[in-house]
Amino acid sequence: MKEILEAHGVGKSYGRRAILHDVDFALSAGETVGLIGPNGAGKTTLLRILLGLVRPSRGRVASLAPDGAVEHFGGAHTLPPHVPVRTWVRLVSRGEASCDDRRPIRDLSRGSRQLLGLSTVLARSHLAAVLLDEPWEGLDPDGARWLSETLRRRKEQGCSSLVSSHRLHDLAGLCERYAFLADGRIVVRGAGEIAKGPVSGGDLLRAFDRIRVSP
């Protein structure tokens, strides 16, 4: 399968604090991968390294996607609060989505800001990959269902997804592979290695516990 994003031997340190050690990872065309790990494990750092926003201290990252075909949403706090919703939607979706809400983004509730960021990014056609950091955070049940269905639909259209989340029950069943990040190291397991049938949140938790005991 053609790979969209690759990381080879990636390490990242801030001063003496090592965040990632020797991470090898690839996101293939059309697959959905869940990124799981405790707070501070380096999930956000890994996503930003893959996106080229943060430089690895060691190793290399390659993107085989056409320029502009990889999108990212890092959470509601990464939206500029003073920009009107309507302007933001038009700007980031490159005119592929529209909205009449003239309020500044700061006037929206947290869940609405999260939904705004996600819907703007996922509205774009011709996406090769989308990298989402805690996308279910702050969403109500309808929003969470919309996100899961949208990710499935984008997958059917050939879009790859790398989704970092603590909400294991939302991730479960959505992904072909799961990347567990603990103590800066990554272990990737296929859904078939985690459970015989459909993967549940409990299966992911047990798999993560096993990996932490014997990496």
Binding site: R48, L51, G52, L53
Partner: protein, 235 residues
């Protein structure tokens, strides 16, 4: 970055501070009124625009980049980062440049000559310095800090007397700049708002221009090489 104009993006996400833009508009309009009333009486307006430009260009690129506000522009756009940086500089400096040109146009119309201080080489060099240096110096620091630091340095030099003596020499004896090109360069860099109102030898003017271009180039490379970890990133 396909289909995403960096200039439009920065104009929306990090627009120049509204109070600064308002004062620059008032200054440009004031220059026109002064020139109508008394030709040649608006030279101080250029110095005021230059002072404001020190702050207008101290926008602090990292301030918004580390909050993730620029993520859509910076995604995998390593090859486009220089264009992104240049667009940020253009948006930051546009109000001051606009006010400068408007004030210069008022002077030129009143004088019926294009060789007014704003449009002479010294004027353009001064505008480049007050735009490029604070922008480049401010990439990693909070908004307005680079301009405030430069002004503090200038005030310190003025209070210590190291600036006023050479400035008076430059005013009273233009040949002093030819005799002391490096000191002239240092005086101009310490207090660039005086550039349009003085006569400078071509070599010193070239020095000012090179410093301005070098500052801009350094700033662009800083943005191109920078990494933007989120400020509140928890790993």
């Amino acid at each position: 970055m396909r289909g995403l104009s960096p200039i439009r993006y920065f104009a929306v996400v990090s627009p120049p501070a509204a109070p600064l833009v308002a004062v620059l508009v008032i200054l440009a309009a004031g220059a026109a009124v002064l020139e109508i009333i008394d030709r040649g009486s608006s030279d101080w307006v250029l110095a005021s625009i230059g002072l404001l430009q020190l702050f207008a260009c101290s926008t602090g690129f990292a301030r918004h980049a580390t909050r993730g506000y620029y993520d859509p522009l910076l995604l995998l756009a390593a090859s486009h980062r220089r264009r992104v940086a240049l667009a940020h500089f253009a948006v930051s400096s546009a109000p001051g440049i606009g006010a400068w040109i408007a004030a210069g146009a008022a002077q030129a119309i009143a004088a019926r000559s294009p060789t007014v201080p704003a449009f002479r080489p010294a004027g353009w060099a001064g505008l480049l310095l007050v735009s490029a240096i604070p922008w480049a110096a401010g990439i990693r620091v909070p908004r307005f800090v680079a301009g405030a630091l430069w002004l503090t340095l200038t005030a310190s030099l003025a209070v210590s007397g190291k600036l006023l003596v050479p400035l008076s020499l430059l005013h009273s004896r233009p040949s002093w700049a030819v005799e002391h090109p490096f000191r002239s360069l240092a005086v101009g860099l310490a207090f660039p708002v005086v550039l349009p109102s003085l006569d400078w030898p071509p070599a010193v003017l070239l020095g000012f221009s090179l410093v301005g271009i070098a500052a801009l180039a350094v700033g662009i490379e800083m943005v191109a090489a920078a990494e933007f970890a989120l400020a509140e990133e928890d790993g």
